[in-house]
Amino acid sequence: MNNKFILTLLFLWMPLAQADVAATTRDDPALEKRAMALSGHLRCLVCQNQTIADSNAELAVDLKNQVRDKLRQGQSEQEILDYMVNRYGEFVLFSPLVKSTTWLLWFGPLLLFVVGLYVLAVNLRQRRRLMQQAPTLNKEEHARAAALLSGKETKGHP
């Protein structure tokens, strides 16, 4: 057998290897789209910072198949999310629910922003007050200051 033949065989094999994944919903692209959209909201518990849509972990593949099956059975998106939450807990939702225990998580950044604005406002007001308190110079003093700044006058004030 020559190498080309083996290579050809290998390439012929590739679509077959993909086939078992795709065969499940290949016939129904709309359903597959919904399944993938919903899978994007579910956390893969094995690889926790991925959604099951992104993950190829065995559990993620199983859960994706569950999502497909349930959609095919006519269940709504919310029903499927509830099903997953009842089994794996709220952690399975990729974006946490908004409730009293997650308020800090959701609104913490906003809180920090407001605190930051407040600190900025206080600082600016303080600075303005300092500016107003600064002594005003008369003509003579202005002239001396200008001379000092330009480097012409070297002697200090008596």
């Binding site: 094995v46 065995e58 559990l59 939450v85 794996y88």
Partner: protein
């Protein structure tokens, strides 16, 4: 003074939070099943495929459900401990052979001892999903009323058995 104390205070708070974060185990996700009725299944037994097993058959006693598979390395590490526990006749251990090949599961039990009163055979992992299994081994404690009372994620250890499992089972037996 405030100029230094405030950032220092913020820094210390941050260190404390990060320190706490380091001690948490992200793999341990509290199970929503605690204090709920154990999810139902009726699965063929591992040893006798023509017989079935269901949590309902075990109503009225405290029992453990250990999710295991021959391909799971941690399960193999945990296995001798389960065998030891089963010899004490302290609490019946039932197995759920999860996404395994029947002959592989049977071979493991034959080779290293069988701690299970019975094992259910979950080839597709559908019962596993109902139980919220995401990483084997997992061990559930089910009470007389058929409620899940505790879930161990990962392998049991002698310390866990002494400190958590034993007192819990004793308490549940008295209920």
């Amino acid at each position: 003074m405030n100029r230094f104390l405030l950032p220092l205070g913020a820094f210390v708070a941050l260190v404390i939070f990060l320190w706490i974060g380091l001690t948490l185990n992200p793999r341990e996700i509290p199970s929503p099943l605690i204090n709920k009725t154990a999810p139902a299944f009726r699965l063929p037994q591992l040893h006798e495929s023509n017989k079935t097993i269901s949590p309902e058959d075990l109503r009225g006693k405290v029992w453990l459900l250990n999710i295991w598979a021959s391909w799971c390395v941690t399960c193999r590490q945990e296995h001798p401990l389960l065998v030891e526990l089963s010899r004490k006749n302290f609490v019946p251990i039932y197995g759920l052979n999860y996404k395994d090949r029947r002959e592989d599961g049977l071979a493991l039990l034959k080779g290293s001892g069988n701690p299970y009163v019975m094992s259910a055979y979950d080839r597709e992992g559908s019962a596993g999903i109902d139980w919220g299994v995401y990483g084997v081994p997992e061990t559930f404690v089910i009470d007389k009323a058929g409620l899940v009372r505790h879930k161990f994620i990962g392998a049991l250890t002698p310390k866990l058995i002494d400190d958590v499992l034993t007192p819990l089972v004793k308490r549940l037996n008295d209920e």
